[in-house]
């Protein structure tokens, strides 16, 4: 429980875990509120997918600690919808983190990641290994985001579709 009480925003933290696996620089910038709205088609498409793939009737939004809404499907699992499975590890860790958090609250759930475009889904359980990994990740986030300067930009494939592309490379 202690690891979690320091953090007030579950969803925010979830995104940070996601970014930890995608790009540590992105994580640093995001943690300092240096964010840019991306009008890139990909992001838009992601939003549209989210809105239309799963009509709201099947889901129930659950408010945790008066802070965060997580969509919970009627069968009692939480889910995330992702545009593609390219960032698989990052997505898995994000959902596993939510499971971990809920577990601390005494709520046991399954996690589901849907990849509607690929007509695929991934079902996740909070195993002891995942639990360890989440703890480790939270610690690493703390280390990175308390550094005074951001990790330098390193060109990788995903830069091209990253909202920070022009910021990092312009």
């Amino acid at each position: 429980m202690e690891d979690i009480q320091e953090f007030s925003e579950v969803k925010f933290q979830g995104i940070k875990i996601n970014y930890l696996y995608i790009c540590k620089r992105k994580l640093w910038l995001f943690s300092k509120n240096i964010t840019f709205e991306s009008t890139s088609d990909k992001v838009l498409l992601g939003k549209v997918l989210h809105e239309y793939s799963y009509p709201k009737e099947n889901t129930k939004e659950v408010l945790i600690d008066n802070l965060v809404m997580i969509d919970i499907l009627s069968d009692g699992s939480i889910r995330e919808v992702k545009y593609s499975s390219k960032m698989k590890e990052a997505d898995i860790m994000q959902v596993v983190y939510y499971l971990y958090y809920l577990k601390q609250k005494g709520i046991q759930k399954q996690g589901i990641i849907n990849y509607p475009k690929e007509k695929r889904k991934e079902v996740l359980e909070l195993t002891p290994e995942y639990k360890e990994k989440v703890k480790q990740a939270l610690k690493e986030i703390e280390e990175i985001t308390t550094k005074p300067i951001p990790p330098p930009a390193q060109k990788q494939k995903i830069c091209k579709s990253c909202a920070y592309f022009e910021f990092c490379w312009g």
């Binding site: 300092k32 009008t39 330098p152 022009e166 312009g170």
Partner: protein
């Protein structure tokens, strides 16, 4: 690209249900609000809080200009992109004498570079170009404070404006640059263009985490959004002056596009429209960016300057101002 909207006629901005309209005596047109980034208001326009609240939901900036076409003020909706971290560090760069001077120097260096760039291709202006190079070459290494830097910049700008007489039509001769009030056509054009670049720069700053009130070359007390003045220095010669040269040398703007009253010389409505059209098309013109390997518009380059400043403040990358390479 998110659009800039210019309202040059008189009318009313009105929200009706989920649409924003601009109504004039002759027409009522709806505004595609989702694709608008900023609205520039030149005419006499009425609007109420209902419209204003709607506009701010979309993060749209409103810029107001007075009767003469000079910048009057802006309405900036509550900001989404706020980073206390960036602002604190931006302020630190202002407070540290050396750090401040470095940035101030960068802005002037880029401005001078672009002035020289404008003269380089013009045989008639060769003597002036040499004079600027000389002044800059001598002066740039002897600067120990902002006032000296400002002085040097002022001397260079004088030579630069003098050179205009060599290649602009005779009707547009300039004795000297006068800001307030401009009493002849060329000064009126420069002032109008500078107003536009100032507000556009402010719009770009607004989209980032930078605080527009903390500046380096200009004193933060000089104008409310003095960082916009700083960054504008880079883009005045690059965008405004080239627009003026084009409009005058192609005779798209002539003396009939100006009105005069007791104190002012200013563009009339038709003149403003012509200027804005050319200015906007310049902003949208794109150039291949070498690092990004993408086309970037002139407007995009203003945004990139903001990004570079943020990177400088957070200790990521030392600021190096734009020097147009194309």
């Amino acid at each position: 690209m998110q659009k800039s909207l210019y309202l040059t006629s008189n009318g009313r901005l009105r929200r009706h249900e989920n649409t924003l309209y601009f109504e004039t005596e002759v027409e009522k047109r709806s505004i595609d609000i989702e694709n608008v980034e900023q609205i520039h208001i030149f005419g006499e326009v009425d609007l109420n809080t209902k419209a204003l609240n709607y506009i701010s939901q979309y993060g749209i900036v409103l810029h107001f200009y007075n009767y003469y076409g000079f910048y009057a003020g802006s309405f900036l909706p509550r900001k989404k992109n706020v980073s206390g971290d960036v602002v604190v560090r931006q302020a630190l760069h202002y407070l540290d004498r050396e750090k401040r001077l470095f940035l101030a120097y960068c802005f002037v260096e880029s401005a001078v570079y672009h002035m020289m760039r404008n003269l380089r291709e013009r045989k008639e202006a060769e003597a002036f170009l040499i004079a600027i190079e000389d002044e800059w070459g001598k002066g740039r290494f002897n600067i120990s404070n902002i006032a000296e830097l400002m002085g040097l910049e002022g001397r260079i700008r004088n030579i630069y404006y003098q050179s205009f007489n060599q290649f602009l039509p005779e009707d547009f001769a300039m004795e000297k640059r006068e800001k307030r009030p401009p009493t002849n056509p060329i000064n009126a054009l420069i002032s109008f263009g500078n107003s536009l670049i100032y507000s556009h720069t402010l719009s770009q700053i607004y989209q980032t985490q930078l605080d527009p009130t903390i500046s380096f070359l200009h004193e933060p007390s000089e104008k409310r959004f003095s960082l916009s003045l700083d960054i504008s220095e880079i883009f005045k010669p690059l965008i405004v002056d080239t627009v003026i040269f084009k409009l005058l040398n192609n005779r798209q703007i002539s003396l009939e596009h100006f009105d005069e009253d007791l104190n002012y010389c200013y563009l009339n409505q038709e003149g403003k429209k012509i200027f804005i059209k050319e200015f906007q098309s310049k902003l949208e013109t794109t150039v291949r960016h070498r690092q990004l390997n993408r086309n970037v518009s002139y407007k995009g380059f203003i945004r990139l300057e903001c990004y570079k400043l943020i990177k400088h403040f957070i200790g990521d990358q030392v600021y190096s101002p734009l020097k147009a390479w194309w």
